[in-house]
Every structure is written in C-alpha cells, then in structure tokens.
C-alpha cells in the first residue's frame, strides 16, 4: 500500500516536472480552464441562490391576483368587479389595489409606484426604496418631484426610506396614499389596477380561480404558484445568455480534451519509449498521464470554484451586474444568500475533471503498448 502511494507521488513528481518544462503554455491553459470553471460556477451559484430566495420570499405573495384584460391589454378594473365576485367559498379577503410605473427623466429610471394603505401616508408623503434614494441622492425629509399625467409637477416629502436589506424586492418602489396616486396618474375614482384575493386553503386556489373566470370573463387570474414557477425557471439553462455561456464552456472543454486526445508528438512518443526502456510498465505510463490530466483539471476546478464562491457571495456577483442591469438605471444592491445545491457542484466537478483527465490517457494507450526498442534506433 505504502509502495503504491509512494509510486503515485513519484509519478506526480515526474508529471509536474514535465508540465513545468512548458511553463508558459501550461499556465496559460490552466488560466483559461480556471476562468471557464469560474464563470460556470459563478452562474450556477448565483442563479441557485436567487431561485431559492425567490422561492422563499415570494411565498408571501398574494394567493390570487385578478387582472382585467381589454383587447389583449391589461386595463383598469372597476370597483363593481369586487361586488360581482360576491361571496366565493374559500376567499377570506378581497381587495382592490392601485399600482403602476413612472418614468423619471431626471435619472432615466423606471419606478414602481404602489398605494400602501397600512402605512398611513398623507397626500404629500411618500416612502421610497433604497435604490431610488441612492440614484437620486435623496434622504429622509427631502422633497422629490414627480410629473403628473396632466403636466403638473407634484412634490412629495420622503417620510421613510425602505431598508437596504430589502432592496432585492423594494429597490425601485415608491409607496404613497391613494389620493397621491390618483393625482399623479389621473386614474379616476372607482378604478383600480387589479384585485387581490386571499384564499385560506392552498389547494382551493385553482378552483376559486376557475369560478372567478366564469363570473368575470374578461379577467385573467394569476396564481401564486405561477409567480413561484416564474422564478423557479429564471436563468434557465435552456435559453438566452445562460445557454450561450454553457455551450461556450462545453465547447472549450471539448477543445481541450480533443487537443489532448488527438495523438502525441514524435517527442512525446520518444519519451514514452525511453521510460519503458528504463523500466516503466505500460500501466505506469498510463498512470502518469492520468495524473497530468488530473493535476490540471483539479487545480482549475478548485481555484475556479473558490473564486466563484468569493465572487458571488462576498462580491455580490458584481461581474454579472452589467449583464443583469442591461439598460436599466436602477439595480438592487444585495448580497445573495448561499443556498448551494451540492448536486450541481458535484456535476460541475465531474464535468470539469473527468473528460479532460480521460482524454489525456487515450492517445497514450497506443504509444505505450509498442515495443520500447524503438529508442535503440
């Protein structure tokens, strides 16, 4: 046993010396390999974290939301619809809501404006999200002006700034009273954006939605489970940028492995001949080549993964910010929570280490079983 371990260590010695002969090339290879693992791991950790977090906090979303659709577009919903709903079994509460979007040309950002009754705001007070406060440089007590639907400039005082740790959901929110909302947007009394219902029993939500669809045929129900499903498939690997990233990474790995597997140079063949002539068996040569692949891929995996972990959970995945932000101005300043799926990490490990390691052994097979007396000539 000891002899076996010692032998492996000798083989590693030889492999390292061999790799160090072409320092530049091999370090370059290691660097690229590590960067690919870093990129894949970062994406993996970030998306898993967001998905899990969305799954947790959006559990508190309303069970059922009703939108009114007119000519295929989301239209305002009149208050009578609340009465039309009447009493439906299982519905514990129904409420009409007001919310919308405001474009602020000063910073070219979109805000989400919401009416919040339980905050008890006066007609001239607002609560803003931390992202807005940061972007517009406003603090508590400051005044912020919005342009209303009829061209007037309406001023509101900032009563509160929503906490920084809720930025992921509230970064771009502006909360206000109903009066303030209607004066900004000109939504007439008696009309609302949508209706929110609370259903006691989770399993009944669908049934309720079906009943409501009959009572209000021009409405579109949105179930909480749909909301959750939306965020479960966010950053899905099957589409868009993530797919391109993955395809690129797979291709890179294939190229590395191909380069290794596509045969040996004359010099490498000669060296194997020498090794065999001085007493190495075929198996020893194969093992040594295995270590060559393993050393590079293991190092790349560890360095890439550790860097990715730091990047995502200590650096808020800042390298992704430009991509996610896109053309937006507001982007939440948040720290992802480390929800890690061990299976994903194991898969990444498998795919970054195994194919490359195996690829290094393949071309050696043929060379290592030839007679070593070729070195005599």
């Amino acid at each position: 046993m000891m002899a076996f371990l010692r032998k492996q260590q000798y083989l590693i010695d030889f492999t390292l010396s061999s790799l160090l002969r072409r320092r530049g090339k091999n370090f370059g290879l290691l660097l690229v390999y590590t960067m690919i693992v870093f990129m894949l791991a970062s994406v993996m950790l970030f998306t898993e974290s967001l998905r899990k977090e969305a799954g947790i906090i959006l559990q508190q979303s309303p069970e059922l939301i009703l939108q009114r659709i007119v000519a295929g577009r989301h239209a305002l919903i009149p208050a009578e619809y609340l009465d039309k709903i009447g009493r439906v079994r299982g519905v514990t509460q129904k409420k009409a809501r007001l919310w919308g979007y405001l474009y602020d040309p000063a910073v070219k950002a979109n805000y989400t404006m919401m009416v919040s009754e339980d905050r008890e705001l006066s007609a001239t007070e607002v609560i803003v999200g931390a992202g807005i406060a940061r972007t517009r440089g406003i603090g508590l007590g400051d005044y912020v002006t919005f342009r209303s639907h009829d061209g007037k400039a309406l001023s509101f005082q900032v009563k509160e700034i929503l906490s920084h740790d809720s930025e992921l959901v509230s970064s771009d929110l502006v909360l206000m009273s109903e009066k303030a909302y209607r004066s900004i947007f000109g939504v007439p009394d008696g009309y609302y954006t949508d209706i929110v219902l609370s259903v006691r029993n989770k399993k009944e939500v669908r049934k309720v939605a079906e009943k409501l669809a009959l009572k209000l045929p021009d409405s579109r129900p949105i179930l909480r489970e749909e909301v959750l499903r939306t965020y479960d498939s966010i950053f899905n690997w099957r589409q868009g940028i993530v797919f391109v990233l993955l395809a690129g990474a797979v291709l890179a790995f294939v190229i590395f492995a191909w380069d290794k597997a596509s045969g040996l140079s004359a010099e490498e063949k000669r060296e194997i001949g020498i090794l065999k002539a001085v007493g190495w068996e075929t198996a020893d040569v194969l093992r040594m080549k295995f270590w060559e692949g393993a050393i590079v891929s293991l190092t790349a995996f560890f360095l890439g993964y550790l860097a990715a972990y730091l990047h995502v959970f200590y650096g808020s995945a800042s390298l992704f910010e430009p991509v996610l932000k896109g053309w937006a101005v507001l982007y939440p300043d948040f720290q992802p929570v480390p929800f890690i799926d061990g299976l994903q990490v194991a898969t990444l490990f498998f795919f970054s280490v195994f194919p490359y390691t195996v690829a290094t052994i393949i071309p050696i097979w043929r060379a290592s079983i030839t007679d070593p007396d070729a070195v005599m000539r």
Binding site: M2, L5, L11, F14, E281, D373, V375
Partner: protein, 227 residues
C-alpha cells in the same frame, strides 16, 4: 548472471513484401562478470541482438535464457520486471529526458518501485558522487557536456543496481579522450562485479584492453567467437 541465446532469429515486417530477417540464427553464451563487445558494421544486427538480450524486444524464434530461466517468452509485465532489476541501459544517444534535472533523470527508472524517497535520493547522490557529478545534480540535462551526459546515462543505468550493463555504441558521440575515460569506467564497473555488454564498430572500444571478449557479427549471423 549467465546469458544464453539459442538459435535466435528476428524478422521485421513478417508476412509483408518487405520482410527482413535481421538476425538469422545466432547462438551465443555470454559469461557473467566479463566485458563482452559485439562488433560489426551498421546493419549487421548487433543493435537488434542487444535489444533482445536486454528484454526490450522479443525474438521471432529461438530462446533467450538468463541463469537457466527462459525469458524470451514471458509477457510484457514480467519482462519489464526483469529488465528493471537485471539490466541497465546506456543508449547511443543517451536518451535523457529533456527539461528534467540530472537527479530526476537518474532516479527515474526507480519511480515505479515506490521506494522510500530518502533512500532513493541517497543512492542517486552516491552515484553522482562516484562519477563526479554532484555539483551538477540540479542542472537541467540540456546544460551538460557530452561527457557529463554520458556519465549521467551511466548513473541512470545503475540506479536499480543491475547485474548487467548494456551499452549501445557508447563512444559514437564522444571524442578520443572521453572514449578512453568511458572504457576505463567500464573496467572499474566490471571489477565491482558487473557484467558488461557493449556494441560498437569503434576500434577504440573493441581493441581496448578492458574488453575480454569480442563477438563479431555480419548480416545477422556471428562471424567468429574468439576470446
């Protein structure tokens, strides 16, 4: 260790139109603890014969026995075992692994044995010392002169303490002075109990006083066997 060859024949590209019989029936006994020289022009088959004696290749027909035990028919794994413990090779072109240090090159043949590192290193350093190479131990082998590389090749051949040393045209890349030095070294090694087999067409080798027996070959057959 006694080496016995019985009716050895070796063909290349057997069955194909360019079939070539390099060895056409050689029977030979090589005594232990002697320096024997295989003399012949290039193409005479001496390198092929040497390669078979050293268990680097197998004869097409015939038997090779070491101390009475037949080795020519053994599977590769056993051949490698025997080769490791019995033979030390010094190649014509030295065949050192480029980019590695002198010390690593010398220790290389012993890697598969999984010996204790300290022990192996001291054996290697002893050899380096014996051949006056200690100061060069960490140098990459590309930096060595011809004579130094030759001595490193000898050290490497000696690391597993083999009974038999085989040298193929050892003086081909050396000048006269170094060639004489090499033959002196061979004499010393023989005195320490080794059996040495050299192939050469260099008169400096086969006419050297150190050589105790010359076996001449031509066209795959022995010409003479005189002591």
């Amino acid at each position: 260790m006694l080496i016995e060859l019985t009716d050895i024949r070796k063909a290349f590209n057997q069955g194909k139109p360019n079939e070539f019989w390099a060895i056409q029936g050689v029977s030979l006994t090589i005594e232990p603890n002697r320096i024997t020289c295989l003399k012949g022009a290039s193409g005479s088959g001496k390198t092929t014969l040497l390669s078979m004696i050293g268990c680097l290749s197998r004869p097409t027909s015939g038997r090779i026995a070491l101390d009475g035990k037949i080795v020519s028919g053994l599977p590769e794994r056993f051949l490698t075992e025997i080769r490791r413990h019995t033979f030390g090779f010094i190649f014509q072109k030295f065949n050192l692994i480029q980019g590695l240090s002198v010390l690593e090159n010398i220790m290389l043949p012993a890697y598969p044995l999984g010996l204790d590192y300290g022990t192996l290193k001291s054996s290697a350093e002893r050899l380096l010392d014996q051949f006056n190479l200690s100061s060069k131990r960490s140098n990459p082998v590309e930096w060595l002169s011809g004579g130094e590389a030759q001595r490193v090749a000898i050290c490497r051949a000696m690391i597993n303490d083999p009974k038999i040393l085989i040298a193929d045209e050892p003086t081909a890349n050396l000048d006269t002075k170094l060639s004489r030095e090499f033959m002196d070294l061979m004499g010393e090694l023989r005195r320490s109990g080794k059996t040495i087999l050299i192939t050469s067409h260099d008169p400096l080798v086969f006419e050297s006083p150190v050589v105790e027996r010359v076996v001449e070959m031509r066209d795959g057959l022995l010409v003479d066997a005189r002591s």
